[in-house]
């Protein structure tokens, strides 16, 4: 009997075969704690009565939601986390380097087959390299910090097969939005999603990241890609037999299989105020926008900025419309400086902010007012996420976002 990718990852970790529904306790490879949740995790850790962390080298603290700080109490979070890191010997602290989910793979922590938990729901992102990662609350994080372990229920897996070649203005963002629309916002709850097929094989790791990242918007526990040579290059590890074996077996049991032809995807938006309210961009044409946001752990990577720059080169953002660009990490910012991308975006009138969560977390970076409309490349369009509950948020790809910024209304690239 074959196994899905998640069953293999968990099985290897616990040393025996597992099947969906099994409740097992796993040793945790990586703990990621972001700045919002750090003080709460620290407090729970102490309430639980622990006197040391299970392994300081496996804990990564990342400040990203509150950077730059917009409220006077924000720096308390940095201070509490710094003190915790110092007291317990945690060396991996990223204070101004970018968004946590970008850094966890980019900075070389999470590798294929690892198990990682983070205090943020988009921890699912690391599925892009074939790691099992998912978001948890700060109380569970405190428990892991002390014990190095967490109980999990082995999830069923939904297999998503995509074959063929995408048309020029369609990106992995359009794919994952379509899939969420088809599954609904709760369609993958408690389950793993495994992405396969020739379209996926030819995608960059960055594009896969976008899809893993948004798996949680369908309720999924994780969204996985089997590691390939590109993955291993990115993770700076050899593509050996162990890596090659990290994939769902042909005879594995899936709770559901969704099959798509790449040619059938079109640019789409998630319309206000649900992530599964998906419509083709062509049907939304003419919707006036006040602001466009390009960034976040979903779509703030170099290829996203480059896609936008290609469209914006020699053009300008529409009058009275703002384009806010927030690169996902310091590394990406520097790469985009070096290759001229940021220069092009600035010439086009973009407001380029320092790397961080920016507008996506709703605490700065371009908050909006009543009845304003924003097209954003991030992952959530919940009511009130970017300002008042009367703000309308459309989620879209970087290509759609760039074309929309130029036109001042929702437009296909």
């Amino acid at each position: 009997m074959g196994h899905t990718l998640i069953e293999k990852i968990i099985g290897k970790k616990v040393g025996h075969e597992v099947k969906p529904g099994d409740i097992v306790t796993v040793d945790v490879d990586w703990c990621m704690i972001d700045d919002i949740m750090a003080p709460f995790a620290v407090q729970k850790f102490h309430e639980m009565g622990f006197s040391k962390v299970y392994n300081p080298d496996k804990i990564v603290l990342i400040y990203d939601h509150f950077l730059p700080a917009t409220q006077v109490d924000d720096s308390r979070h940095f201070r509490v986390a710094d003190e915790f890191a110092e007291k317990y010997g945690i060396k991996s602290v990223h204070r101004t380097d970018g968004i946590c989910h970008q850094l966890m793979t980019e900075a070389g922590y999470v590798k294929p087959g690892d198990i990682a938990f983070g205090t943020d729901s988009h921890t699912v992102t690391y599925g892009c390299v074939g790691a099992f990662s998912t978001g948890i609350g700060y109380t569970e994080m405190a428990g892991i910090l002390g014990t190095g372990q967490l109980w999990i229920k082995v999830p069923e897996t939904i297999k998503v097969e995509i074959d063929g070649t995408l048309s020029g203005n369609v990106t992995s963002k359009d794919i994952i939005l379509r899939i969420i629309g088809d599954l609904t916002a709760s369609g993958a709850t408690y389950q793993a999603i495994e992405f396969t097929g020739s379209t996926v094989d030819s995608m960059s790791v960055a594009s896969r990241m976008t899809m893993s990242n948004m798996s949680v918007e369908a309720g999924a526990k994780c969204g996985l890609f089997a590691p390939d040579e590109k993955t291993c290059d990115y993770c700076r590890i050899p593509y050996d037999d162990e890596m090659k074996a990290l994939r769902g077996d042909d005879n594995a049991t899936y709770s559901k299989v969704l099959q798509y032809r790449a040619e059938d995807f079109v640019p789409v938006c998630a319309c206000p105020s649900l992530v599964d309210n998906i419509k083709p961009v062509s049907e939304l044409k003419g919707t006036k926008v006040n602001q466009v946001f390009l960034g976040s752990c979903t779509n703030g990577r170099l290829e996203d900025l480059r896609t936008a720059a290609t469209i914006l080169k020699g053009k300008h953002v529409a009058d009275y419309v703002k384009l806010i660009v927030t690169p996902a990490s310091r590394k990406i910012y520097r790469e985009a400086l070096a290759d001229g991308t940021l220069g092009i975006l600035s010439d086009a009138g973009a407001i380029i902010t320092t790397p961080g969560c920016g507008l996506c977390c709703g605490r700065g970076g371009g908050i909006l007012s009543d009845d304003e409309v924003v097209v954003a490349t991030n992952n959530r369009n919940f009511l009130g996420r970017m300002g008042t509950s009367k703000v309308k948020i459309y989620l879209a790809s970087p290509a759609t976002a760039a074309a929309t910024a130029i036109a001042g209304e929702i437009t296909e690239a």
Binding site: D73, G135, I136, G143, L383
Partner: protein, 161 residues
């Protein structure tokens, strides 16, 4: 067995509705309380009385992993949330904070806000004389709930309580 007044919310009640990001950094849950559910119903937090219950549709708690969400609901004194389904991170977080969650497919479509329910955990909910069957949680979760949440369970493990 307890009785509780029902507050009725819809489908996909996300974590940003339960507690917007703006208020996540307050250092105590007490300070967060007035802002619970504010994007959806500004006055709701002030109207919920200790012991009341929430009844909702599908996918309650979807979105962020912010544990402030179940904590603030618990702090409002909500006795339990009954929904058609829960998002998984919220589910774990609620249990870890000793907040009772009950999955029940039919209740939502048959009750009105303000009605009173009789809840017998693991057995049934009765509203307007009609009984709705409910299941028990898995054993490992019941252990956490019975301990009063994960912090207390860990304190026990660490020989403190």
């Amino acid at each position: 067995m307890f009785e509780a007044k029902i507050w009725k919310l819809g489908d996909d009640i996300d974590t940003d509705i339960i507690l917007p990001t703006e208020y996540l950094a307050f250092d105590t849950v007490e300070k967060m309380k007035p802002y619970a559910f504010s994007p959806l119903r500004q006055d709701l937090a002030g109207m919920i009385k200790p012991g009341d219950m929430i009844v909702a549709g599908n996918n309650f708690g979807c979105g962020s992993s912010r544990e402030q969400a179940p904590e603030v609901v618990k702090a409002l004194g909500v006795s339990c949330i009954v929904a058609k389904s829960f998002a998984r991170i919220f589910f774990r977080n609620a249990i870890n904070n000793g907040l009772l969650l009950i999955e029940q497919p039919d209740l939502y479509d048959n009750v009105k806000e303000g009605e009173v329910a009789k809840v017998e955990p693991g057995k049934e909910i009765i509203v307007n004389g009609k009984s709705y069957e409910i299941a028990n949680l898995p054993e490992n979760l019941m252990e956490i709930l019975d301990a009063g949440g994960l912090v207390k369970a860990m304190r026990k493990r660490n020989g403190l309580d």
